[in-house]
């Protein structure tokens, strides 16, 4: 069926903003159809309308030639339209099985049929190749595993249409492979897939066609076999942008100047004997699969979590064993955390306040914080990082992911920090903004500072790093110089294959 799902003249107006503007296109039955566009292009809004989260202002949605108007997500799910969401909405206190069956628990008389719940869940998990169990409490699982639960949940609903919104952003490579295999299976069964992702290689791997939105308007639908990455990107951004992570300036590593030296660091999370050095002007990549504990190591260095052993030496001075972030920041190390919303900025704060948070002392005159100094700094540093809108009074929480990340970078650039630990610096950020973040990182090291970049995106790791350390299951397992950076070699370290 050529027009399995058809969007007709969909317009969605939020107060003060037109999120979708006369969007029409259709999706074939049993295809994997990508929705592409920069953040804010309207992809998620369109999916939300399909899923009945809110109605369209104008226009109609047809499925199998029949107009549908879901009043809420539940109706859509019963109709067979399921989703795997970008924002993971599962309940940490419940088990995997309870989460999967939430709202549709099998019963036995008045009681829950726990056995059946767990058995069915386990079958699905096995099919997905998940390494956890139906009776595990979700709160104990990693982000990647939580997302697998969502995918399993959609499968459990026997959906006719499944939409994926950035499904792989938190998955390890092997999990991604499994997911793609499953998506192909689903496709073979005639299930229609809608797929939102920023990752071009994935889209070429898995999708049949792609529809592109820009600023709420429909641009075009392309057949993946007849198109190139450049084509897609050009259509998405409307301008010619190099979306590749690559160094535009020469490397500026000062090999004789060790800024940070970590020796035999271990922590209760399970990482052990981590030793490495960071040079002045270096971008040091940290690669690893989910569960490699890169984030845990960084938090231990930063004092966010307690380390159980080892030392961290910054510019020849050892950090105290029981260090707190306060100590570490004072010495000159900053952390850009992976979870921007939860750990990166304060939601009630405007840009000026968030940018000033780590450097507040600088704006104090007498006993009072001087508002004007804060604002001045916000505008100045905001310009450096290319923040738009560069408005000190704008609430950070209302910014797009890329701009919020720039606020966090601006926060650290306002301090005297010389080492920045950046954990997944471009996660959930659209392509245009990614390129800007990469450019910023180069400027930072050019200014004589150093960066540790934890990343799961291979293109980013290869493109940006001066040197890459690979971790596996809490151990450092490999070190590769820029000249040796090849996807194959990195992956081999990461999965524990033999070198050669």
């Amino acid at each position: 069926m050529d027009k399995y799902i058809e969007f007709q003249h969909i317009t969605k107006i939020f107060p003060g903003q037109k999120a979708l503007d006369d969007v029409s296109f259709s999706v074939k039955q049993g295809e994997v159809h990508a929705l592409l566009g920069e953040n804010g292009a309207g992809k998620s809004t369109l999916l939300n309308i399909l899923h009945g989260m809110f109605p369209a202002t104008q226009g109609k949605v047809f499925i199998e030639g029949e107009e549908v108007k879901f009043r809420n997500a539940l109706e859509a799910i019963h109709y067979g339209i399921a989703k795997v969401h970008q924002e993971i909405n599962i309940i940490p206190e419940l088990t995997v099985a309870q989460n999967m069956m939430l709202g549709g628990e099998p019963t036995k008389g008045p009681l829950l049929n726990r056995k059946k719940m767990e058995k069915e869940t386990q079958e699905l998990l096995d099919r997905l190749g998940c390494a956890f169990h139906a009776d595990d409490r979700v709160g104990t699982l990693s982000t990647g595993k939580k997302q697998m639960i969502q995918i399993a949940k959609a499968l459990y609903m026997n959906a006719k249409v499944i939409s994926f919104d950035e499904p792989t952003s938190s998955l390890s490579n092997s999990e991604v492979k499994t997911l793609f295999k499953i998506i192909r299976d689903l496709k073979a069964q005639g299930i229609t897939i809608l797929y939102i992702s920023h990752k071009m290689d994935e889209i070429f791997q898995i999708c049949d066609r792609a529809s592109i939105l820009r600023d709420g308007k429909y641009v075009t639908t392309l057949d993946m076999k007849e198109t190139t990455e450049e084509d897609l990107v050009q259509n998405m951004v409307g301008r010619d942008v190099s979306m590749f992570a690559q160094r535009l300036k020469p490397s500026c590593v000062d090999k004789n100047n060790t800024v940070l030296k970590v020796e035999h660091l271990s922590g209760p999370a399970g990482f052990d004997d981590i030793s490495f050095e960071l040079k002045k002007g270096e971008i040091l990549g940290f690669f690893g699969l989910v569960g490699a504990m890169r984030t845990e190591v960084m938090r231990a260095i930063f004092g966010a979590d307690k380390a159980s052993g080892g030392t961290v030496i910054y510019n020849g001075k050892a950090l105290p064993h029981n260090r707190t972030p306060n100590d570490v920041v004072k010495m000159g190390i900053g952390l850009v955390s992976e979870n921007r919303k939860e750990e990166g900025f304060v939601k009630n704060f405007n840009n000026a306040d968030n940018i000033a948070l780590a450097s507040l002392t600088k704006y104090v005159r007498g006993i009072f914080v001087k508002e004007s100094l804060k604002q001045k700094n916000s505008i100045k540093v905001g310009e450096t990082v290319g923040l738009t809108p560069n408005d000190p009074e704008f609430l950070t929480v209302s910014l797009s992911g890329g701009n919020a990340q720039k606020v966090i970078l601006a926060k650290w650039l306002s301090t005297d920090v010389d080492v920045l630990i950046m954990d997944e610096p471009t996660k959930g950020i659209d392509i245009g903004a990614k390129a800007e973040i990469y450019k910023l990182m180069e400027e930072i090291v050019a200014a004589g500072k150093s960066i540790i970049m934890v990343s799961s995106e291979m293109t980013e790791v290869i493109g940006m790093s001066d040197r890459v350390l690979v971790m596996r299951e809490g151990k450092l397992v490999g070190e590769l110089d820029r000249s040796e950076l090849e996807e194959e070699r990195i992956i081999t370290y990461a999965v524990g294959g033999s070198q050669g």
Partner: protein
Amino acid sequence: MKKIIKNNYRELSVIVAIAVMFIIFGILNPIYISSSNIVDILDQATIYGLMGIGMTMVIITGGIDLSVGSVLALSGCIVANMAVKGLNPVLCLIVGLFAGFAFGLLNGLLVSRMKLQPFIATMGTMSVYRGAAYIITEGYPVLGVPDSFRNILNIKIVGGIRISVLVFIAFAILVYILLRKTRLGTYIYAIGGNMEAARLSGVRVELTQTMAYAIGMLGTALAGLIQVAKLGTGDPTTGNGWELNAIAAAAIGGTSMAGGRGNALGTVLGAILFSGLKVGLIVLNVNTYYQYVATGLVIIIAAYLEIFQGAIASRKKKKVV
């Protein structure tokens, strides 16, 4: 001008509510808007208001302090005991404030260092402090507080306004400035808005939390001292359940129960609205049962304003993105 209105929407809405209240009650009974009655309303807003200001600080950090009612009684009894023994009244006052600060400090340490949930920790100290008040008084009110002490806080100055009202306003302004203009204040908002983000930005979260509880409790200690001055008695049974009135004053004034938002002036206005309503209903001789209903409605309407304000804010947000 527009910006002032936008940024202080919540305070302005309470001011409008107070104005409306004065007009309505004033029409129904002109005595209500006599100057002496208005002075009375301020007077009666003092105790809940002071407790509410302290509570505001704590709530902004994302916490709660249920022990304020007990500290009101305990600090009052400590001071009344000393005053009755004839100690220097200024000394009594200072000791009372120190005691309040110390009680708040303990709450803060339980929450920040021991990582107890604020609700539970302060529920515990609520009982401890209440017990302490009974112990030092053996359950009897402390009578006969000398005028030398009472006058410090209770004496009338211009226009029949008492010093206690000025203390109330002064404390509110101090806390307002503390929250708005100092590093500690910024950090208090920061940990209420996102504790982890603040911690990872190098903010000393534990210290900030502790100070919010301790400084906040100064408001309650002041309230306790003023009550002793007002009644000439230190009553160990007083203040039971008043933490909820303090919370209500803060909530009406726009303090978000989720933390991260609120300010002292809003709470002052909340307390004035609260006491103005109470006095108005008394002036009209309204049946008690209806007074309960009216008070409850005001709180609910205030909560609704909060949502309404959120809607306006989010509309603004969307427009710009």
